[in-house]
Subunit: 350 residues, 2 copies
């Protein structure tokens, strides 16, 4: 039996990245009709609390900003150990708790959802597995239609989670109009991005930092996490503000800064200024998305989606996914099975 060379067959990760337009279409078709149920469930609840870890946590960060910015609903991220280890009793009778887990089987997330119900919360599960414990026990299950994901790095399950959270925000008051319907085509149009130079810039960097802000912060953190997990390189992900608040002092020559930006919105111009500052400190810039002026400040630039800022983060991860898959192969790694990662993550030892 011969094993084909990596260049001869697409990796599973590459195939799953390419399936995303279809996965997004199926997910929209499946979830948009559930908005009425979500509206009913959310009626009388004053805020949303997200429960997630890892890539799902990065999706939840987008969900949090979108709910606050576009739906006017106070939102935040739960600290699962408050439930699982401290067993705190909080009054969550005014709260809609949204638990996000690709497998729906991560014990910590399932336990935290059970705790939230005991605390009086209404619950929504966002998961890719219809029969999972998380889905079965939630008041409403938003089951993403990514199909089975075989590569360890979450790609189509992440993108459809982010999409599900946008559907939730739309149901709870964000008027996303026809922007959601434009997402699948926007994802498709990014699939033929030429990531050769981006992968090369990452391969030659001494150190990598990733930053974004506001609605795009989750995308930046997901880019950092995927880069670290898939390419086994230490990468630091920072919010724009946290980066400026101190760690920017360690940015010097040899650093590659990956900046993820939107083409519109109140943070588009601050991201241009961040690029200027980082360049002045000697960093090279790999930019994804942003304004034309932002693109002009980048040493290497990948186009972002043609979507407004409120939904851009659903698609903005695509150029990063392509770059990371390519970089892993360039480094002689198998993007489908990075060392030391299991598909269902256990936070605690058994």
């Amino acid at each position: 039996m011969t094993t084909p060379a990596p260049s001869q067959v697409a990796t599973r990760m590459a195939r799953e990245v390419a399936e995303q337009p279809a996965a997004a279409r199926r997910t929209l078709d499946h979830l948009l009709p559930q908005r009425e149920r979500l509206r009913s469930l959310g009626a009388g609840r004053r805020r949303v609390l997200m429960v997630a870890r890892g890539s799902s946590d990065n999706a939840a960060i987008y969900g949090r900003y979108l709910l606050e910015v576009a739906a006017g609903v106070p939102a935040g991220l739960a600290a699962p150990s408050v439930a699982t280890h401290y067993g705190a009793h909080l009054d969550l009778s005014d709260t809609l708790v949204v638990s996000v887990s690709q497998s729906g089987a991560t014990a910590e997330i399932v336990e935290t959802q059970q705790w939230a119900r005991r605390c009086g919360a209404a619950t929504v599960a966002v998961t890719n597995v219809a029969g999972s414990a998380l889905a079965a026990e939630a008041d409403v299950a938003l089951v993403t239609q990514a199909g089975p994901e075989l590569a360890v790095p979450a790609t189509k399950t992440y993108l459809t989670q982010v999409l599900a959270l946008a559907v939730l925000a739309d149901a709870l008051g964000a008027d996303l109009g026809d922007a959601l319907a434009r997402v699948p085509d926007a994802v498709a149009s990014l699939l033929d991005s030429d990531v050769t130079d981006a992968a090369r810039a990452l391969a030659s960097a001494d150190e990598v930092v990733v930053s974004g802000r506001g609605l795009l912060l989750g995308t930046a953190l997901e880019t950092a996490l995927k880069l670290e997990e898939t390419c086994l390189r230490p990468v630091r992900g920072y919010s724009y503000a946290d980066l400026r608040h101190g760690p920017i002092s360690v940015v010097t020559g040899g650093v590659l800064a990956v900046l993820v930006a939107a083409a519109d919105g109140p943070l588009a111009q601050p991201m241009e200024e961040l690029a200027d500052d980082l360049r002045a400190r000697g960093a090279r810039i790999l930019g994804i998305g942003g304004t034309t002026a932002f693109a002009g400040r980048c040493d290497v630039h990948l186009a972002g989606p043609d979507l407004p800022e409120v939904v851009a983060p659903i698609a903005s991860i695509v150029p990063a996914q392509l770059t990371i898959e390519r970089l892993a192969r360039d480094l002689g790694l198998d993007p489908d099975n990075p060392r030391g990662l299991a598909k269902v993550t256990r936070t605690d030892a058994p």
Copy 2:
């Protein structure tokens, strides 16, 4: 005029670290009598939202856990750009917003507090400057009594912020009993920690990660931030769970893991297990605090405070401060004026 060699005079940072027992006593004396006003202000408010950046954000993370775990009050961290850039309108009439800023002058934090008032929140400012905008505009100002802090790295202002948040939690229902009163002596007893080996271990590491969990998470993140800002070394700070959820795969030989733990509480044993796991991957362990069994797993260990977990984080930062001050000098850096940092941080360009 001759400049004395660094070894001949204590740095400002070292002096300010040593002032902390007195600063803690003054702060307790000043703030404990304000608990009744805090209780009145919090009456009818269902949750607490913290507003902070940088070191203050790390203090706020402790405050969030303490409020949920010990006072049963749902708490979370605000995303300031939701206020300052997106100008979202949220109904915060059920919310107590706690803004934390050493200077009380960080524009982003002051603006976010003003936004919170417009959204109907009751407001508490935690700051070291009595006449600051943040203090003047809050319903209740908790002014920490650290005195002027001249070294750029926040030490006594951070410790007294954390203490102020514990006073707030006590007022809102956490029964901290006499534990608060024991803090100043516990801080004092840590000041003569021998940090020689700890600084040496950090100096010789190829890479440093810092981790902690639950009530101690803020201490771990503050340790990472201070190490990065003061010693100009890239350091990654992770929650225990986030570390396990992926980035642990890049931990190999050459990594020094700094683990901050409590001697009691539900996370004491998981921290022992984390130390085992990291050692099995080839990392060396610098431990601060924790159980006796935890200490036995560390290559280098610094004692933590003799305090219960709920208030241990007020003092657990002290061994880290001493180590960082020493490391900076060992590296030939000036701990009082690390490159590229200003005392009042501006998040956005003017």
